[in-house]
Symmetry: C2
Subunit: 347 residues, 2 copies
């Protein structure tokens, strides 16, 4: 945290083509469908019969990340993962990415190498190829734009509009940790800025910190769906927060929903950190966002197939649209669910 690098090679000493050549050296293609990678006007792909799935996400310095506590390697990793998560949310398999990097001359070649290390690590971890991109300069900050390409057979694709009344609402993993991790990082940054001799105290909270800095996409779940013979009726990844993303599924499928506080999967370290920071873990789970877990619905008839899966929690059910969006707290009080997740233009 707050460290400085010793070695520094100016990007201007390589130039754009030198930088692209340098990046190309670190990239390996492993997907048989990646026919032509970096080095022409465009990449060439043949992922076989079926459907191509495409998503894009930008990460902007000062909005999506704070380099004073975000290692560039983690940032590169996260930039890939958030896109892979979107591909998984279609029940598709990620295959390729293209990556736009825009950065000011305050970044050195070593900084780009660190970022690329994270991007390449995520590609390796998820079996995805970096097949192209664009590098350019900015007057100030760093911006990363990644477009991910996935593949699925038509019959496997899951959209947001096929949920039905009484469908089970399911979520993978646990929620709220990434948000708690961010609050801890922000607190320690504030303390450090006020008194640089105080070293940040992040001990014991590895899990929420990792969830914030180096999230994972649930490709494992997409792969398991096949072996479980499960196909969700609707699915989305939780990036804006459970409440906001669940309401997207409800609007897409024209349903209402009812979920239960006591069913929300929250890790014990998220709860402990909530106590330390004076933040309600339930609020973090509902509205924190950046969990990159999968939220999906299944017909009641599929209950037996998932009821004993440790990685899946059933948190409620879909209702008739006229019931609205309901949240039942631990005292059985009924609240209206509100989307207070991250909103780019209100945050």
């Amino acid at each position: 945290m707050f460290e400085n690098k010793q070695n520094r090679t100016e990007l201007s000493s390589l130039g754009e083509f030198g930088l692209i050549h340098h990046i190309k050296q670190s990239v390996k293609l492993t997907q048989p469908g990646s026919l032509k990678g970096i080095g022409d006007d465009a990449a060439v792909i043949d992922n076989g019969p079926g459907r191509t799935v495409v998503t894009t996400d930008m990460l902007i310095e000062g909005v999506h990340f704070d380099l004073s506590f975000t290692p560039l390697k983690h940032l590169g990793y996260k930039a890939v993962v958030v896109n892979i998560s979107d591909i998984c949310a279609m029940n598709a398999l990620p295959k390729q990415i293209v990556c736009g990097l825009a950065m000011s001359n305050r970044f050195s070649l070593e900084a780009v190498e660190e970022l690329m290390e994270g991007i390449n690590l995520a590609c390796e971890r998820y079996g995805v190829d970096l097949v192209g991109g664009d590098t350019c300069s900015t007057p100030g900050g760093l911006a990363i734009s990644i477009t991910a390409i996935g593949h699925a057979m038509e019959e496997d694709l899951v959209y947001r509009d096929q949920s039905a009344v009484n469908d089970l609402i399911c979520v993978t993993g646990d929620l709220g940790a990434a948000y708690m991790g961010l609050q801890l990082l922000n607190r320690e940054k504030k303390i450090f800025l006020e008194n640089p001799s105080v070293q940040p105290d992040l001990q014991g909270f590895d899990y929420p910190l990792e969830r914030q800095l180096k999230p994972e996409a649930r490709l494992d779940i997409i792969q398991r769906f096949k072996t479980w013979y499960v196909k969700p009726t609707a699915m989305i990844d939780i990036s804006d927060g459970l409440a906001s993303d669940l309401m997207h599924l409800c609007k897409g499928s024209n349903t209402g929903c009812q979920i239960y506080e006591e069913k929300l999967p929250i890790d014990h370290l998220t709860r402990e950190l909530g106590i330390e920071l004076g933040l309600d873990p339930t609020v973090a789970a509902l509205n924190g966002g950046e969990d990159y877990e999968l939220l999906f619905t299944l017909p009641l008839s599929e209950f037996e197939k998932i009821k004993d899966r440790a990685e899946i929690s059933i948190i409620g059910h879909m209702t008739d649209a006229s019931f609205g969006y309901r949240f039942i707290d631990k005292q059985q009080n009924v609240h209206e669910l509100k989307a207070q997740g991250w909103d780019a233009f209100r945050a």
Copy 2:
């Protein structure tokens, strides 16, 4: 130029989802392969058998464009065109784009609408669908990231590595105009900033201004290649400048080249503006960049097929790599061709 808009709706009053909904209303899908557009975690595409071609480009405020003289509608149009140009340079047909927009709250909804108008106009002009994207805020400027997806049969694709010695070097349209247009805009901006009562004098130079502000991609040429039964041995679009881009073809194909000043296609308005600005049109043609014309090579045996095409100029031929990169001026002096085109990290 330098105008202010009267109406202003804050982006924060819509929020991100409101903005996406608003953008979605203005978008029409026309490609049969665009199965699912904006509104889910990812777009779904089926462009049929063959190859998928993918390219991405970012445009950054203060680096790639200056909003004091670039209308947002033209900017949106150009952002799409530069990507379509890359797809064309593979001898592929553009089909879909996804678009990331990052902008600060100094931009209003009306500004986004203007930008989208240009994006949609380019999509319509080139028969391309906007199928997805991402909107987010920035601490300062505007950044546009577009990824374009194209389609070609394997046998039609043209790379950079199949040029042979003696191949004809051909270029479409004319060169240097976009660079001259930019110099004129920069001059008038400087005059305006020094004395705001002086109105910019841009009269008579519509063509170079349009080439800078609203370039076109040569999709028409790609379509004509089919009817002419012509397939280039190598191809690239001229974005960095003829010299730099020709050297990419030579390096890709392991050849040298020889081109002639007297053969360079330069519009008479580019020459006139060169005289007015005191700039050499040949230098603009060689190193100006942003022409978005196609540079390609053809075997000598194809000469008859293209010799009388008004839209194609033969400017030289490929040579053995040991000859290097040669430029023959009008006085028959031999120069070494140097890539002095636009370089992101040296500009």
